[in-house]
């Protein structure tokens, strides 16, 4: 300090340091007062004895004071879940919560709760435990309101006005996760090297992580971002400013705003989210009345899937949606919502995502008008303004089905097989026919047929033009409901046979060209059993690539998650697995990817990343047909397969689960136009989980997904060749359209 070029006396330096801090980091009023308050209350042990504190010590004091300031309002909650059958989920866990109203109301992060928590306990700052009841959940912002069974008045924290929160300000994440060290008889915890600091204050025993406000208005306007370490150690706790005022409540949020709390993957990345406290406080009344708050849905899809395109025309409107009731139409261009101009899809998300069901919005669209009469091609447009109320649930999308399986060796919409009893079968479509027109739309590729079907509904009557040999034909048909047509018991819903590729090659034209494409470098990859190395993971991964694979026809993929702990014990060897599947892989054109968990007996949800990486590493070398990418597992692996298929709708086509049900509380996704979900559920006839597995099937069907079921005699210890053949045919028919 003596080398300082300034001539200030030490005492003045403190003030200068403090005000410098204020200028650099904080709102100008913040530090000089709170830092000095902090020094008064700081324990003697860490209080500098003679020398003046330097700038970093002042920061330290201010931060400790901030944590202390909010501590009486930070409550520890403990969640007991006796019904969890998933061994990987802890049956009791703890989290933090913040007092929102003195009459026993606290709020926590929805991420802290297992789906069917039986008991919630809250520990008051004085250490006393009371029971807590869940009152309501804000499903948009993942906040849960709890009421304590206690008449004690709680300490409501001070709120940091949002207008005063700026990027770069200190942000201190506070939680109450760790047990304070009790001054017990244990001598090793108490030392004589220091004079004992002031008595431990239970109200101050919080854990903290220090960072700054990284951004405001993140996750479509729902969250504040911070670089304080956001982890289960502070979910539900407050993010406070340097004065200890609550800026926001810490909760993981998914970036795509799809609901749910799977935002935990950003853990330890320097990115954490917290929902502005002012928003939570504003919703307190609604929540305390026991009403869940759900994301508000408008029911439109834009024609552009690029969030940053400059095209905001409506591409699809869900039946029964507010948009449909308000009379919005395909092709309408959105001009504004609630007076805010919209020019890009991302701006629409930004305005709609934070809204709740029941919120009213004003929407202005521009509709092109056809001019009648006159040779001039003048297009006029009119502006239409509508006010509508967002709703929580859109009626599920029903998928339309034609009943044809497309040839895979070319992109032409040629029929490989016809689904029994489907509209196509009834209309006399045959393998080898080439689809030419869907209504008045010309079909050049199979993908165009998929798009046309996505825009149609079951029951629609359409005319299909197709070519058979040299002959052009037309057929009229009524589209079927895909979920209805493909669901059911495997012996009834699956076709008994599917044409093998060899047969098609012999008859279908255009094959010669497909086979002559030998320039594809991917064809040079090794075939057969190929070990996969994932440098960052411990999991054992291997794959079987059908040797006939020539690199031109993308293959499906069966991802087998091992262990299969109950039906087959012990976990089968890779070689045995491959031996059982290889012939089916060859015949039905799919790869087998075997991924093992690190734990010998069960999968943990955290291992989802391994599966993703394993799939991508194979897909980088062999063309993968993602419309036939399915996961497969028994028991806990089956549960994981189901959960992933249900939650990762864009990545995974379906799952084959044996003796496994969807964990209670996993939100069932609504059927979406271009993201079909198919599930094959197998269970033993005496299964202990029969009820839950059947409930899963019902739930999936209700949401308009395709469910195939099979009951196996419990006396049989493992899948037999018939089961596997059915699974293979099921996989082979996933590109049914």
């Amino acid at each position: 300090m003596t080398t300082s070029p300034t001539s200030l006396k030490p005492t003045r330096r403190i003030i200068l340091s403090a005000s410098l801090l204020a200028v650099c980091f904080l709102a100008p009023y913040a530090v000089s007062s709170s830092a000095q308050d902090a020094r008064k209350s700081a324990p003697a042990a860490t209080e500098p004895a003679v020398t003046a504190p330097d700038i970093s010590e002042l920061e330290e004091l201010a931060i400790r004071a901030a944590a202390r300031h909010v501590a009486p309002s930070v409550i520890r909650i403990e969640i007991l879940d006796a019904t969890s059958t998933d061994a990987s989920i802890a049956s009791s866990s703890r989290a933090s919560a913040i007092v929102i109203h003195e009459d026993g109301y606290i709020v926590a992060s929805a991420a802290s709760f297992t789906p069917n928590a039986t008991t919630i306990l809250a520990q008051l700052p004085d250490g006393k435990r009371v029971a807590a009841k869940r009152i309501a959940t804000d499903k948009t912002r993942q906040i849960v309101l709890l009421k304590l069974e206690s008449s004690a008045k709680l300490a409501v924290p001070e709120t940091a006005p949002l207008a005063e929160v700026a990027v770069g300000h200190w942000a201190i994440a506070v939680g109450r996760m760790f047990d304070p060290v009790k001054p017990t008889t244990n001598q090793t915890t108490d030392s004589t090297t220091n004079p004992d600091p002031e008595k431990p204050n239970p109200a101050a025993e919080v854990n903290l992580s220090v960072g700054v406000v990284s951004a405001l208005d993140r996750v479509w306007g729902k969250a504040i971002q911070t670089d304080a370490k956001i982890s289960p150690n502070n979910y539900g706790g407050p993010l406070v400013d340097i004065r200890g005022r609550v800026i926001a409540i810490i909760t993981p949020l998914p970036l795509d705003g799809a609901g749910g709390t799977e935002g935990g993957e950003l853990y330890d990345s320097g990115i954490g989210f917290a929902v502005p406290w002012a928003h939570v406080v504003a919703n307190f009344k609604k929540l305390s009345a026991g009403n869940d708050l759900k994301p508000g849905k408008l029911g439109i899809r834009l024609s552009s899937s690029d969030a940053h395109a400059s095209d905001v025309t409506i591409g699809a409107i869900s039946p029964g949606s507010p948009a449909r009731s308000a009379g919005l139409a395909l092709g309408d261009r959105i001009i504004s919502i609630d007076g805010a101009t919209i020019t890009r899809p991302s701006e629409l998300s930004r305005l709609i995502q934070p809204k709740y069901a029941g919120d009213r919005i004003k929407i202005v669209v521009e509709r092109a008008l056809r001019t009648t009469g006159g040779a001039k091609n003048l297009t006029k447009s009119e502006r239409i303004e509508r006010e509508l109320e967002l709703i929580a649930e859109l009626p599920p999308y029903r998928r339309a089905l034609l009943g044809v399986l497309p040839a895979r060796d070319s992109s032409l919409p040629t029929v490989r097989a016809v689904w029994p009893n489907s509209p196509a079968a009834k209309a006399g479509i045959q393998p080898g026919d080439r689809m030419m027109k869907f209504g008045d739309k010309l079909l050049l590729t199979s993908a165009e047929l998929v798009a046309q079907l996505a825009d149609s509904a079951p029951g629609d009557r359409i005319t299909i033009e197709y070519q058979r040999g040299e002959e052009r034909k037309t057929a009229e048909m009524e589209l079927a409901d895909a979920s209805e047509a493909t669901s059911g018991r495997s012996d009834r819903s699956l076709p008994a046979t599917l044409p093998m590729r060899d047969k098609i090659e012999a008859t279908a034209p255009g094959d010669a060209t497909a086979n002559s494409e030998t320039a594809n470098p991917k064809a040079k990859q090794p075939l057969g059993i190929v070990p996969i190395k994932l440098p960052e993971f411990k999991n054992a991964v291997s794959t079987y690539i059908p040797p006939r694979f020539n690199g031109t026809v993308p293959l499906g993929m069966l991802v087998a998650l091992i262990p299969q702990s109950v039906v087959t014990q012990p976990a089968p060897k890779d070689a045995d697995q491959i031996a059982q599947w290889r012939e089916l892989c060859d015949r039905h054109e799919f790869m087998l990817l075997i991924v093992r968990s690190t734990d010998p007996t069960s999968w943990s949800p955290a291992e989802a990343d391994v599966i993703r990486r394993a799939v991508e590493s194979v897909a980088a070398r062999y063309p993968l047909d993602r419309s036939r990418l399915v996961l497969h597992g028994n028991d806990s692996a089956g549960t994981l397969a189901l959960s992933l298929a249900v939650t990762q709708r864009k990545a995974i086509r379906g799952a084959i689960a044996i003796e496994a049900a969807l964990p209670i509380g996993v939100e069932m996704p609504q059927s979406e136009p271009l993201e079909p979900l198919s599930v094959f559920l197998l269970r033993a006839d005496t299964s202990r989980q029969a009820k839950r597995i059947d409930a899963t099937a019902t739930q999936l069907r209700k949401a308009q997904h395709s469910v195939t079921t099979k009951t196996i005699a419990a006396t049989r210890k493992e899948l037999d060749s018939t089961d596997r053949a059915e699974i293979a045919r099921w996989i082979d028919s996933l590109d049914l359209m």
């Binding site: 300090m1 300082s4 300034t6 330096r13 340091s17 410098l20 650099c24 860490t46 330097d54 700038i55 970093s56 010590e57 330290e60 931060i63 400790r64 944590a67 403990e78 007991l80 006796a82 019904t83 969890s84 802890a90 049956s91 009791s92 866990s93 703890r94 039986t118 008991t119 306990l121 435990r129 029971a131 069974e149 770069g168 760790f178 047990d179 060290v181 244990n186 090793t188 915890t189 108490d190 030392s191 090297t193 220091n194 600091p197 919080v206 854990n207 903290l208 992580s209 220090v210 370490k229 982890s231 289960p232 853990y267 330890d268 990345s269 320097g270 993971f537 690190t598 955290a606 391994v610």
Partner: protein
């Protein structure tokens, strides 16, 4: 004797990568860069503010050594860190498989390479003391170690990831004490034999090779010794922690004196005669599912449960200070309590939490 080895699984590795990135940001300087903002007085103030830490850091780094030993053959890191605690070369470090070698090599901050001898180890404390043949070594005086609390600003010096080699000094990280806690309170949550107090650190300090490094405050006073990699089995979150030296001075003194591990009360050890539900006079509902909530089915007349006022349909949620979410968990918790001791049960009756103490059954200790 072999302590739990770090479980290097998938998420561990991913986090290690991000930890490594984070480290690169932290290594160079610990004052927020914005201190050098375009503020005329800022430069001089910043200079002032950094004078002490700079000296502190140089002195600290000289006291942290690199330790090389066993492990390499098994694909584990064969290195860790150590902290000099005496002029004659005593080194405090974490007890681990690295030290389980016939020869341990110590590399000082100045590059000198010396053989190390194990003076003593306490596997329960997860601490060990090594000795090298040296005089006038820069060192921390254990008697001057101080305590920290949540919010204490810290610096951590260690050879994490074995980045420093030869004459390179250890790496420095900055952060805060997040909490002061004990690992024992949550049985089974942390896979470590150590059950005492720790400083939880708000910085990614506990990386491969960091164990044994020094945790100091901004005044350069020794606070703790960095622990190993440890994960919370409930939340999967990695715990960055250090053992508080000031609180463990007695045990460390024993190690330094070569007295080895002291036998201490083993709290985690199961009693030979534990409590049983039937002896306490209650029956839980049949444990039919994998996990059945621990509702009381029946109270046996005349026994401790009845005397304490427990009733049928009460839901047992805690046994002593441990949450018990199922019938099985209650039985497991009881198995940890000696029959001679009373048992505290917390039950949920309707929405009310009721806490009762069941006295040891008469003649319970044969």
């Amino acid at each position: 004797m072999q302590p739990q080895l770090p479980n290097l699984n998938r998420s561990r590795s991913r986090i290690a990568t991000s930890r490594f990135r984070a480290l690169m940001h932290y290594v160079a300087c610990f004052l927020p860069a914005c201190l050098t903002a375009n503020f005329t007085a800022a430069n001089s103030i910043a200079e002032q503010a950094t004078v002490k830490p700079r000296a502190v850091i140089e002195e600290t780094l000289a006291k942290v050594v690199k330790i090389y030993g066993a492990g390499g053959a098994r694909g584990l890191e064969a290195y860790q860190s150590g902290t000099l605690i005496s002029a004659d070369g005593k080194i405090l470090t974490a007890w681990s498989y690295v030290l389980d070698a016939s020869e341990v090599t110590i590399v000082l901050a100045d590059g000198r390479k010396l053989p190390g001898k194990l003076l003593g180890a306490d596997p329960k404390l997860e601490l060990a003391v090594l000795k090298i043949d040296i005089q006038d070594a820069p060192h921390f005086d254990l008697a001057k170690a101080v305590k920290a609390e949540a919010g204490t600003r810290i610096l951590a010096a260690s050879n994490l990831y074995n980045i420093a080699t030869g004459g390179e000094a250890a790496s420095l990280q900055q952060g805060w004490v997040s909490a002061v806690t004990t690992l024992a309170a949550r049985r089974g949550t942390y896979q470590t034999p150590y059950t005492g107090a720790v400083y939880v650190i708000d910085a990614v300090t506990n990386n491969p090779g960091a164990a044994g490094g020094a945790l100091i405050n901004t005044r350069g006073e020794l606070l703790g010794i960095l622990g190993k990699e440890l994960r919370n089995s409930e939340t999967n979150a990695w715990l960055n922690y250090a053992l508080p030296v000031a609180s463990l001075s007695e045990a460390i003194g024993d190690l330094v004196a070569g007295r080895g591990a002291r036998r201490r009360d083993d709290a985690a050890k199961r009693p030979a005669q534990a409590h049983r539900l039937s002896d306490l006079g209650l029956t839980l509902v049949p444990d039919a599912l994998d996990q059945t909530p621990a509702y009381i089915d029946r109270i046996h007349p005349g026994a401790a449960a009845e005397k304490a006022g427990l009733k049928a349909d009460d839901l047992v949620v805690m046994v002593n200070d441990h949450l018990a979410s199922s019938c099985r968990a209650v039985t497991t918790e009881l198995a940890n309590i000696d029959r001679a001791d009373p048992v505290n049960l917390t039950v949920l009756r309707g929405q009310q939490l009721v806490e009762v103490t069941l006295e040891a059954p008469a003649g319970g200790t044969p």
